[in-house]
């Protein structure tokens, strides 16, 4: 796993938009003065007339996206995760979610890997906010290949979707033949000693942890749960049944995200001990992304540590 190419998932978003734009006239892309950062600027270069800047006014952008959708267009509305899902939560809930309109909210800069900008820009609550809206699909890709496939799947799906991409470059581990399906988890490593369910950049960290653990005789089943809602219940239950213990890993608060989705399912259908790795109900801080991920335990080393302690119990 040494020489892996690294690309930020937001790059895949921009690339997928351009590819979709070539095939479909009905795509419009909305941004709130962050086109360079969210990578909708890539689409703007190719299709300037279909790129709509709404300025620094995310609430208006989301409700306008709803209006655009009613005219038969497919709007992809972008900002940073903090402002898309935080600032404009209620617009997404009432203008997009309630009438179940075909709007794709695609936010970049999720989690603490935003880095130096600090806690005000490090959104670790977006899954929680978006999961709580009835009918909303919530996803986050683990690498660039998955990001491209996910954005295309979101276009093909009729209804509101939230996709979170990241700012930092992350290893690309999927091959070009990768197939993505909304609501289906992906077993990236087989094992029976413990199930590690991760998403976003934590998938690769879990995979690295899996190698270390294997060297120590612990065979972890590792799942990339790119769709948080609807959760792949069948796969979670099968993994819990097979392994008996589950660890969740996400670059998000342990409140309301993937970990809680897994816990909710298991506590009702197959009570299984779970450990959640994520932001422990705290704000992030400024610093280089890699150092922050280490500091908050969102890294392979911590997954190894938590796994060993959990298994010994």
């Amino acid at each position: 796993m040494a020489d892996v190419k690294k690309i930020a998932t937001r790059e895949g978003y921009g690339q997928a938009l351009v590819e979709l734009g070539r095939e479909h006239d009905n795509i419009v892309v909305l941004d709130a003065d962050l086109a360079g950062a969210t990578k909708t600027g890539t689409f703007k270069k190719a299709f300037p007339e279909r790129h709509l800047n709404f300025g620094i006014a995310e609430g208006n952008m989301m409700s306008a996206a709803a209006g655009l959708a009613t005219t038969g267009l497919v709007p992809f509305a972008s900002s940073f995760a903090m402002f898309a899902t935080g600032r404009a939560y209620e617009q997404i809930r009432n203008s997009i979610g309630y009438p179940h309109l075909n709007v794709k909210v695609c936010a970049s800069h999720g989690g603490i890997s935003v880095g130096e900008d600090g806690a005000s820009h490090q959104c670790c609550e977006d899954y929680a906010l978006m999961r709580s809206i009835p009918g909303m699909v919530v996803m986050s890709p683990a690498d660039n290949v998955e990001a491209i496939a996910m954005v295309k799947a979101a276009y093909d799906y009729e209804g509101p979707v939230y996709i979170r991409t990241g700012r930092s470059a992350v290893p690309v581990f999927h091959g070009e033949d990768f197939h993505f399906e909304i609501g289906k988890g992906e077993v990236v490593r087989e094992g029976a000693d413990i199930a590690i369910i991760a998403n976003g950049l934590m998938v690769y960290e879990a995979m690295k942890a899996g190698e270390v653990l294997a060297n120590e005789g612990i065979n972890a089943m590792i799942i990339n749960m790119a769709t948080i809602k609807p959760l792949d219940e069948e796969l979670v239950l099968a993994a819990a049944k097979k392994c008996g213990k589950v660890i969740t890993c996400e670059e998000h608060s342990i409140i309301g995200g993937l970990g809680e989705a897994v816990c909710s399912l298991l506590s009702e259908k197959l009570p299984t001990p779970v450990k959640r790795i994520g932001m422990n109900d705290e704000f992030g801080r400024s610093g280089p992304a890699a150092e922050l991920l280490q500091h908050y335990g969102l890294c392979a080393e911590n997954i190894v540590k938590v796994t060993k302690e959990f298994i010994e119990k």
């Binding site: 419009v28 007339e49 609430g59 208006n60 409700s63 709803a66 209006g67 617009q91 203008s95």
Partner: protein, 281 residues
């Protein structure tokens, strides 16, 4: 318009008002005040202005109307019912648990409702999106949205106005119902949005100030709006909250409550007397 046409519109506005009182009375709640103030506007929009087809509510080339002040759904539902989108008697199911007539409009449930609204400030943004979407696709329908004068205290309204003017949406006409009252009292005392016309002008709108109970003025304003190119139009209409129900007129307390049986009798008697007078009975 001829005097006869005007009389017909006045009769219809009176029926719309009866629908508002009947439906909120049956629901034992709802928002009669701001529905009554906009009764002429609802009536004119659905009887004269909007190119819509009750038999084909989702017709792609229809004009759009977004009730940004969604709490005045009783006024919208009444106008839709009289236009033939659904049976008038269904108005009596307003806000009931098995009714499609939700407390605030739901586009997924009500034929003729073009956008789900209720959270103030969002409807105008959706109307901007509709106008922009139609323009991008080279389509000719126009988009209308009705806002409350209290609603324009929401910052999102001004974000929407900025974007309407930035994108030169001359297919968009916004209407502000200036009935001067909101839940907590006079808008001037709660949080003054005045001067409304000047603000809209500064945000790039072509503005028209009218008496919102005068059908001639409404007709002229919409005709003028259609001649405006390269910018959106705002019609600011002065109205009386609770109009045509004596004890509701200019009373903030009737923003969001319904009549008790005695009040209902007075209200409906007044409106029916007015209807009889208009019909020459």
């Amino acid at each position: 318009m001829t005097e006869l046409e005007k009389r017909e519109l006045q009769i219809m506005a009176c029926k719309v008002r009866i629908g508002i009182i009947d439906s909120t009375n049956a629901a034992k709640c709802g928002h009669p005040g701001g529905s009554l103030s906009a009764a002429e506007m609802f009536t004119y929009l659905y009887q004269k202005e909007l190119n819509v087809d009750p038999k084909n509510p989702k017709w792609a080339d229809r004009d759009r109307f977004v009730l940004s002040k969604g709490h005045t759904a009783p006024g919208l539902y009444s106008a839709l019912a009289y236009k033939g989108f659904f049976p008038v008697e269904d108005l009596l199911t307003l806000r009931k648990i098995d009714s499609y007539l939700q407390g605030h409009p739901n586009m997924a449930m009500v034929p003729g409702v073009d956008m789900s609204t209720g959270s103030l400030g969002q409807g105008i943004s959706s109307a901007v999106g509709m106008a922009l979407g139609l323009k991008l696709q080279g389509k000719s329908p126009r988009v209308y949205t009705l806002l409350g004068d209290g609603e324009i205290q929401e910052g999102q309204v001004w974000e929407a106005c900025m974007s309407a003017s930035h994108y030169k949406l001359d297919n968009l006409c916004i209407i502000v119902d200036n009935n001067s009252l909101q839940i907590d009292g006079n808008i001037r005392d709660v949080m003054s949005p005045y001067p409304i016309v000047d603000k809209l002008q500064a945000f790039g709108f072509h503005t028209i100030a009218i008496d919102g109970h005068d059908f001639d003025a409404i007709e002229a304003a919409f005709a003028e709006a259609k001649t405006v190119k390269g910018q959106p139009t705002a019609i600011v209409m002065k109205t009386i909250k609770g109009k045509d129900v004596s004890f509701m007129e200019n009373e903030a307390g009737w923003h969001g409550k319904s009549t008790n049986p005695a009040e209902y009798e007075i209200a409906i008697t007044e409106l029916k007397a007015k209807l009889n007078e208009l019909e020459g009975k």
